[in-house]
Amino acid sequence: MTIDEIQQEIIENFSGFEDWMDKYGLLIELGNELVPIDPKYKVDSNLIRGCQSRVWLHQEFKDGIITFEAESDALIVKGLVALLLKIYSNRTPHEILASEPRFIDEIGLRHHLSPTRSNGLLAMVKQMKLYALAYEKISTKNN
């Protein structure tokens, strides 16, 4: 599936809920299901610090593909992290750079990405894009 197809699927999953609490219920479920980050990567150098919740992000680059692992200490953020991983992990740098996480806006969670919420999520998206940019440059150079 392309990034866009996955985003569309997520948007449809969330649009099935009328009540906001159910949307958050789904995020909590996704957060609970997220495979925990390998403890050896849950270190300060991988920490994206927000004022209220923290996100750890680890990446690996192999055969032109970036794989991300991530986790948060807050469950709702963890649910959003799970969605971001679904979209951006196991992708080429080009795919990552070419796509914005529009699902967040479309499922009505835009305020979670505002800088003032300081929950580390916006910084996580930025960080993933920065990795993609760096690896894209390395790949181009090597070619």
Binding site: M21, G25, I28, D73, I76
Partner: protein, 405 residues
């Protein structure tokens, strides 16, 4: 006669709205309180008809504004019972007030090797300005700790005070733990050793009658926006004997006497410390807010706020896994807590979805978080317009949310 809360609520237009489809329950009063119509009207009147820069011109608008600004200073003076209006400085708020003292008192009285005592439960605004000053002057911070129930270990004060101690800076009421500190006793103990005392009154002035002469504090700092006035306006009370000896904090207009390129002489108190055009409309609104709250029966407000706190405390204690931080016998309307297994950010997000506004995070008090070994807390804080029904709705929401995790 008991306090008619519904009548009070009618004065606060902002409370009558829905948030996320639910009636707003506003429990973030320790961060900022809402403004009554009386304050809004007074400020609007000045914006609409009377605005003129104070102390600078002879025209009608400037005269009217100057008169109202100075009259506001008198209302504030009376509110804290300062000996004279010259001791009542308008600032941007508690943070600026404390920065002013840390800077100017530091310049005048603090030297290399000297010590400043602050408490472990201070808001960052009563830590960082002192650290900045200490870094400049080569002085150091000494910390008066609190016990696990959130009570200052005031008996340690005597041994912390040395011949190097220059000032004690302590909060009246903790913004995170709600503890009401025995400031009269702290001041008394410090004065016995000739140490002046600054009281951070940001959370104290909204809930207690302040008599700076009776307390005999050397400085008392507080903010308008935590007591039903606008943001950007606050007060620093300082004893004349200190203010006279302290150099100005900021330079600019209003604070000068005569300027030449070789030398400037400074204006008298309080203007020496009020550089630039002050937030005079805010000051006028602040006085209106003081008029508003002093027109109510203060003992009944206090009784009402105590009831809200004890009602909330006893309900929250029914929730399994809920820890309350700060259980001093004397507490103001602040209740900080965590629920085991639930991140404060998640709780705050979901409460917001239910129309309930609380504070979550580190509460501008990292050392308090470190004391309890937690990253964050949830804080509910109450004001005179809150009701028991709101507390019950909050409790019901917490029970429902806890089950989601």
């Amino acid at each position: 006669m008991t306090l008619d809360i519904s009548k009070i609520r009618a004065d606060f237009p902002i409370l009558h709205q829905q948030v996320n489809g639910k009636p707003l329950i506003y429990f973030d009063n320790a961060a900022t309180t809402q403004r009554p119509q009386q304050v809004i009207d007074r400020e609007n009147e000045f914006s609409l008809k009377i605005n003129g820069n104070i102390h600078r011109a002879t025209h009608y608008l400037a005269n009217k504004t100057t008169e109202a600004y100075e009259n506001s200073r008198e209302i504030l003076r009376n509110f804290i019972n300062a000996a004279e209006t010259a001791e009542v400085l308008f600032t941007h708020g508690t943070t600026e007030s404390i920065n002013l003292v840390a800077h100017s008192f530091g310049e005048a009285f603090i030297n290399a090797g000297d010590e400043v005592i602050i408490s472990e439960m201070e808001h960052h605004a009563n830590i960082v300005p002192w650290q900045m000053m200490c870094a400049r002057r080569g002085a150091k911070i000494v910390v008066l700790p609190f016990s696990n129930d959130g009570i200052l270990k005031i008996n340690l004060l005597d041994q912390l005070i040395t011949d190097k101690t220059r000032i004690l800076a302590v909060t009246h009421v903790s913004n995170s733990l709600g503890t009401v500190n025995p400031i009269a006793e702290l001041i008394n103990r410090a004065h016995l050793k000739n140490i002046p005392v600054l009281v951070d009154g940001a959370q104290g002035a909204p809930h207690y009658t302040i008599d700076v002469q009776k307390l005999d504090c050397d400085f008392y700092a507080f903010s308008g926006h935590k007591m039903y006035a606008s943001t950007g306006i606050g007060v620093l009370y300082g004893k004349r004997k200190w203010l006279d000896q302290m150099p100005p904090f900021l330079g600019g207009g209003e604070m000068i006497d005569k300027v030449t390129f070789s030398k400037t002489t400074y204006n008298e108190l309080p203007y020496k410390f009020e550089a630039g055009t002050p937030h005079y409309i805010g000051a006028i609104g602040f006085a209106a807010a003081i008029d508003y709250s002093t027109n109510l029966d203060s003992s009944q407000i206090h009784h009402h706020e105590c009831n809200l706190l004890s009602h909330a405390t006893s309900l929250l204690k029914n929730i399994e896994g809920l820890t309350i931080y700060g259980e001093a016998p004397e507490k103001a309307g602040v209740i900080s807590f965590n629920i085991a297994g639930v991140h404060p950010f998640d709780l705050g997000t979901l409460l917001n979805q239910m129309g309930i506004a609380v504070r979550t995070g580190r509460l501008c008090a990292d050392p308090v978080m470190d004391h309890f070994g937690v990253e964050n807390m949830v804080r509910a804080s109450f004001a005179l317009y809150n009701t028991s029904e709101e507390i019950e709705a909050f409790y019901t929401a917490l029970v429902r949310l806890k089950a989601m995790f």
